[in-house]
Structures are given as C-alpha cells and as structure tokens.
Assembly symmetry: C2
Homo-oligomer: 334 residues x 2
DNA sequence: TTGTATGCGTTATCAT
DNA sequence: ATGATAACGCATACAA
C-alpha cells in the first residue's frame, strides 16, 4: 500500500534510479531535477522501504541491544534504562534504530544465535555479561560487529566498561584516609565482572595501605536490596566501622539493617556505595557513592559499534570509562 | 556471506521451494525429505534472512515500542522497564522482536512519521501519551496497527490502561473510611491521562462521601520526587491529615518534606501512593499504595497488537486493567 | 509431493 | 545526468 520509488518516479517524470539518487544524496543529479523530485517526496511524505534497502545493500541501519534479563534486576536498578537512553540518543543522531532483546536464560543461546544470523541488525551491544558467558564465543564466531558493556578477561574481545577496579580502590581508600580501621565490603555477584573488579579494588586499597584483608569482613551479595540487607546483618557481629558496598541498591538494604540494629550512620558505621542512582542523594543520610556515567557509556558504545559497522573494520577495542567519588554524609562528610 | 535457501537446497538435493516449505512447516512435504532438509538446516545453523522474508511477505515479525522520553522520568521510575519487560517476554513467546524508540520531543513528529512508513515494523505500542498528543492523528492516518498504553479520550482509538479513576477513588476512599477529614492530594501532570484520571478519582471519592473538595488541598506535581517534596511543603500550612499522592516517587518526596517538618507518618499525616514500585515496601514507614500490574499490561498490549497484526483486523480496542490497594503502615495499618 | 517462475522495493552496474 | 536492468533472499502461484 505505501508508495515505492517507482511511484515517486512516475509522479515526477523521472526514472526509479534518479529518485534513488536523490534520496541517497548522490551528486550526479541536476539541481533542477533534484528539487523537483524532492518536492514530490516531501508532498507524499515518502519513506523508502527499509527491508528492501537492507536486502539490496546488506545493511539495515539497525543495531541490536541484548540484555540478559536474568543477570540483574531490570526493575529496581536504573542502570539499564540509563544505558538504553544513552544508546538510543546516539542512534538518533546517526540515523540508526535499535532492536531490543531481553533474553531469558533458558532461551538465551538459541535466541542469540538467531539474532546473529538472521540479518536483522548490523551489529550488537551486549550488556551485563557474565565472566564465563558462553555467548562470547557465539559473538566471535558470527563475524558480526559487537561490543560488550562490561570488561571481559578474554583477549581479542571488544568491550567498554567503567574502571571498576580503580573505582573500588578509590572508594575504599577514601575510608582508609578517614581513619577507619575495620573496613568491610559487601560484594556483588563475583561471576559478574563488575562485582569481581569492585571487590579486587577493595582488596587492593587495603593491601596498598598495609591493612589486612579479613575474610569475615567480606560478605557476598548479588546486587539486590535484599542481599545487601542480609549481608549487613551477617557483618554486624564482626563490628566493622565502615563498609564499601558494591552498589547502591545493596547499600539501601545495608542501611536498613543498620537502622534496625540501632547503629548510626556514619557515627557507628560509615558507608560507601556504588552507582549514584538518583535516589542516593535523597537517602538519610545521603549516600557517599561512586558515580559512573552510564548513559554516556551507552552512547559511546553505540558510537564505537556504528563506526565499526560503517568502516567494516573489526579492530579490537577496549575502552575504560572514568568514575567519580561523590562524597556525602554517609561517611562523615558535612 | 551467510547461507541462503538456495545453498540449503543444493546441499540437501531439493529445490529452494521445498526448503522454504520445511521452514514454514508446510504440510505438503514428505516426512522423509522434511527430515533430510531439517538436518542440513540444523547442521549449518541456517537462519533465513528476515529482510528478504519481510520483502516477500510484507511482514517482519517485529513490533515497535515508542516511548516519548520527554514525558516521564525514564531513569528513576521503573514503570518503563517493567512495561518493556512485559512486552519483550510476550514477544519471545510469539516469535516477534521489538524495536525500541525513545523519542525526543524535538524530533518526535518526524521520527514517528518515519517509523510508521518505512516498513520496519508490523505494528507499534505507544507508551505514555499526552492527552492532546498530535501523534495520535499520525497513527490513525498511517493504517498501521497500534495500541496506546494509557487511556485516550478520543473515539476510535485503541488503548489499554489501568483504571486510574477507580484506583484513585479506591485509594482516597480508604482514607475516608479511616476517618480522615482533611484529605489532600498531590497530582501528577494533568495533561497526562494517568495524572488527570487519578485526580478525578480523588474528587469522586470526596463527592461520593459528601466531603468538600478544597482547592487549597490540591497541589500539582509532575510525577518526580522533587515535585512531591515541593508540593508537600506547600500543603503543610493547610494542615491536611492525609494525602493521596499520584505516584510513589512523589510520595517519597512528600515523606521527606514531612520528616523535615517533624510530622509523623501516619500519626500526623497519613499517606497513600500509587504504583507500588519495589522500594515502596522498604520505606519508613512502608507505603500504602496502589499496585498496578505493569509488566502484565505490557504483555497484554503486545498480545493484542500481534493479534491485530496477524488477523489483519483493526477493530477498536479499549481494555481496562484492574488495580489493587496494598495497605501498609503509612496510613495506619499495622 | 516437488520444482519453476515471478515479484517484493531497493541499490548498483552498465549503457546511453 | 539519466535510464534500463540485474541482483539481493525469500514466498508463492502455478505447473508438473
């Protein structure tokens, strides 16, 4: 039912090829006819059929975003919305569209394999990969341009990440400098790179300060509020005077546990979180936390991916984004 | 580079059409050859080119989701992630993919028009529409199957929504029954249907109870935490003993304002929110709020849309989802 | 039951 | 500078 190149050609008295040239800004077209054709296009609000374009050129101007829904909590953590926002905004500027897949673990492999081979997208951004995720292999084999959000230990893998290790170190170091002696940590999932690296940063800060890493002061969580609450309850008996917590959601849980135990923040226990999600400036007391620029990271990822697509190159990229420690009352700042 | 039907045909010693029949589960194919072909397909992990399929059939098995990013706060409110989750999960079950557009106000019209005409998607879900949104007209004119999330006052428009009016009435009525006399409200944006309808529900509850609607007890917000905080500060001087607040984010802001004014919840001021976002069971005190099933609503919307697409009908649909009042301590429940 | 031929709406190559 | 024509990979009407 929609108009085609052929229709526009007939209406403006030229051939299909000329119309195509006008649309693709080909220089070999007389200014006069260009204007004439463009007017018809505008009048009828003609939009070329992208499926046909895809078939003819091999490119769709669509990138895929794959979010393994099982990995993190899509509902409570604004991480993914922000990432999507960044990706989407950049795609708008470069005339790309985004295809979104929230993959469920049970279908993940099959679905990924479909995505990589059915030619719907020119490249993919894959968010929140596990350290040992098998889909990496599929990605590499597929020859499709891709970029991971989240560092990956393997060689020859394209990724983009915040410097979780440095950030974890910086956050813990802040507590060291403030004079805390029994600094604990609540970790994220250690099979996720972010969880692992933040934990390593904590360890490194203590080692660099010649302080012991006490196993009883390391409590594992899984990035959810609930797990932060539980982890803090386990930690309390070991009397930490400060805690570095691998994300803000868990920090809220930890604060809840401290409140229930009638411990004051930061007088009895100081807290540092990670993410600076919007609510963190509104907690009581406001949370000291590491700010990572999620949306810009998404934009950067999409930009790199589109560059790879358009240049046809697949050079390995490893980009590390900076972070910033936002100091608030939860660890004693005024 | 990827394999084509032709390749598979050659490899399995049949014709292109037979392979096509196998893939599309056509009954007219001998079980024997079906198995043979299927095996080749599996061995080579063949995936048909969807652009070509789209071109040949006129259908892409892709639906679009359009979220006007200007309308609400994508980052702090889990509404959109949940909606996306519901849509995505349903699409997985029906073998559809989703294309996501977060439209920015300045480009919105042009972008929508492109989406509706470039044949990338078979239909669209449009979230969070303004009451007077001009894109409705574009939708109707385009003849593309669509469904709005959010009631729309115009006739002959397909939408799906929670019953905001009933829910607002139910929430306010709860406060009436508990004996509160000076019940205030903090509204959402009144040019969004949800904001408007929840406000109407508040008014209706008071009228049905022969209580006056006092203008000074109505404070307008815009669904953000900050606006809830400001609105509550304005309300305090008029001494409300209870407040119905049009969403949970604003309720958090209001609770912050009350805390700063040294007013106790619910002893001095009782609170009812709307959304039951995950954090609402963890506030102090836990928030009484209206729960709407967002993800299921997204799934339902996608289901309806796909039905429209596959049946080729465009009958007007108006579906209203139920809500549930979750009573917690913020209005005096144990 | 299977194969052949045609068309879907573009782009791209080749003439003119 | 422009037009005719052949792909692109699939589905499908028709023939066998």
């Amino acid at each position: 039912m929609p108009l085609t190149l052929e229709d526009i050609a007939r209406l403006s008295g030229v051939s299909r090829s000329t119309v195509s040239r006008v649309i693709n800004a080909d220089l070999n077209v007389k200014e006069d006819t260009r204007r004439k054709v463009q007017e018809i296009i505008n009048n009828f609000n003609f939009q070329p059929n992208l499926a046909a374009k895809r078939l003819a050129t091999g490119r769709s101007n669509v990138i895929g975003v794959i979010i393994p829904a099982g990995v993190s909590d899509l509902f409570t953590d604004p991480y993914f919305p922000q990432l999507l926002q960044g990706i989407s905004a950049l795609c708008n500027t470069r005339d790309y569209s985004v295809m979104l897949w929230l993959t469920e673990p049970e279908y993940e492999r099959r679905m990924i394999s479909r995505i990589l081979h059915n030619s719907l997208v020119d490249g993919v951004v894959v968010a929140s990969i596990l350290m040992d995720d098998p889909i990496i292999q599929l990605l590499i084999e597929s020859k499709m341009p891709y970029i991971l959000i989240g560092r990956h230990p393997t060689e020859d893998v394209n990724y983009l990440d915040v410097d979780n290790l440095q950030a974890g170190r910086k956050a813990t170091m802040h507590l060291v400098r403030l004079g805390y002696k029994r600094i604990a940590t609540i970790t994220g999932k250690k099979n996720q790179v972010a969880g692992y690296d933040r934990y390593l940063g904590y360890v490194k800060a203590l080692q660099d300060s010649d302080m012991p890493v006490r196993p009883e002061l390391v409590a594992d969580g899984d990035f959810t509020e609930e797990s932060g609450y539980n982890a803090m309850q386990r930690l309390i008996m070991y009397r930490p005077d400060a805690v570095f917590i691998a994300n803000d959601m868990m920090a809220y849980g930890a604060m809840r546990a401290l409140r229930e135990a009638n411990l004051r923040i930061p007088e009895d226990v100081a807290i540092v979180g990670f993410d600076d999600i919007p609510a963190s400036s509104k907690t009581v007391p406001p949370l000291t936390t590491v700010r990572q620029a999620i949306a810009p990271m998404g934009g950067k990822a999409a930009d790199l991916l589109i560059n790879m697509i358009e240049s046809g190159t697949m050079t390995t990229q490893k980009v590390i984004m900076d972070t910033e420690l936002v100091v608030r009352e939860s660890c004693g700042a005024s």
